[in-house]
């Protein structure tokens, strides 16, 4: 009997003493800190600091502006890869409000968000690429900025993809390469 009780005690004791190496005296990301006044172990970046290699010296690339005017040419080469990346990022960050075609009827808008202007209006179709980059970076009216969520290179990928969406609105079957027509034509139907 006492042996059984002893074992049970051993079991309980050894279960209880797991914490020593579990919580080592070091900080994990976003952990609470008893040392700093704001209780954040992940320290905010001091204003004006520049990480090595991340100096924003290319104003065209980093602001989309030259002399306070939005640039009209993409600062990066437009490749099929860039467009694919842009599509993926657009679907993550923009579709909730702007919807998959950019007409501004996304799920969040249907739940009460202000309805954004469609990308297919004359004003936005003719807006320069730098303007879209600026909206993502600094926000616009009721839309908050996405600079913390999206890297500059990805912002340009999204801008390029917005151009694809705009072009697609006026697309016809004649724009499709002949060898791919069969893959989009509905079976038995006509376009």
């Amino acid at each position: 009997m006492s042996r059984a009780a002893g074992l049970l005690l051993l079991a309980l004791v050894s279960v209880g003493c797991r914490q020593d190496m579990h919580d080592q005296p070091k900080y994990s990301p976003l952990e609470k800190s008893g040392f700093f006044a704001d209780r954040r172990a992940s320290r905010p970046i001091p204003a004006g600091s520049v990480a090595r290699g991340l100096l924003k010296d290319d104003t065209r690339f980093h602001t989309g502006m030259v002399n306070n005017r939005p640039i009209t040419e993409m600062p990066v080469p437009v490749t099929a890869e860039l467009l694919k990346r842009g599509q993926e990022r657009f679907n993550i960050y923009c579709v909730p409000c702007h919807d998959a075609t950019g007409s501004g009827e996304g799920m969040i808008v249907r739940r009460g968000m202000k309805r954004p202007t469609s990308y297919h209006t004359e004003r936005l179709r003719t807006a320069p690429v730098g303007y879209f980059y600026d909206v993502i970076t600094n926000g616009y009216g009721a839309m908050y900025d996405y600079s913390a969520q999206i890297e500059p290179a990805d912002r340009w990928a999204i801008v390029a993809y917005i151009r694809v969406l705009q072009r697609a609105q006026s697309g016809t079957i004649n724009d499709v390469p002949p060898d791919q027509v069969s893959s989009i034509k509905p079976a038995g139907g006509s376009l």
Binding site: R3, A4, L7, L8, L10, A11, S14, V15, R18, M21, H22, D23, Q24, K26, S28, P29, L30, K32, D38, R39, R40, N91, I92, Y93, P96, M107, I108, R111, G112, M113, K114, A142, Y144, Y146, A148, Q149
Partner: protein, 217 residues
Amino acid sequence: MAQVFHYSTNTLARASVVIALVLVGGGLWILLAIGRTSYITQQEVVREQPVPFSHSHHVGGLGIDCRYCHTSVENAAFANVPPTKTCMNCHSQIWTGAPMLEPVRSSFRTGESLEWTRVHDLPDYVYFNHSIHLKKGVGCETCHGRVDQMPLMFQQNSLLMEWCLDCHRNPQQYVRPREELFTMGYKPPNGNQAALGEKLVADYKIQSLTSCSVCHR
């Protein structure tokens, strides 16, 4: 001189060896079993949060991608929990009067952090990295379960070493194509994981990593 021990004590002596073994073995078994209970692993224990944030509404209902909030999960060890500003992208306009969201609004006004309660927490002596798992085709759902059906977050799996190793020994049973990493309710084509798994392990050059220093470094 008369015999001190009766003949039957021979049997008793043998039996006591067996009983001792059973007790020691049973004790060890109890130890291991206790270590696997959800009391220790915190499996499926729902946590109180400062705001009752629902993945089931935001992911399942509204269809928001994991990466909208957990932005660093593809590139870093740590899958970040979103800052208050991310919530305000929408909640500056949606449910602006809801008392439930007051902690979010006051955090945005004052700049103080929202203090979410951690749900998954490996011991500090284990190294874990999200990005490698995504690059090699392990989806969120495989480890975190049907997040899109969780009104409040809980830990789907035990996170015990045996759980990690089960997959590290046989990754082909769990991997999926990279396009499906964020899909919830994913099913392999034709239900044939065996064939797909073999192919992906070859395509993504997936190794079976079981040496101790992979996770204990």
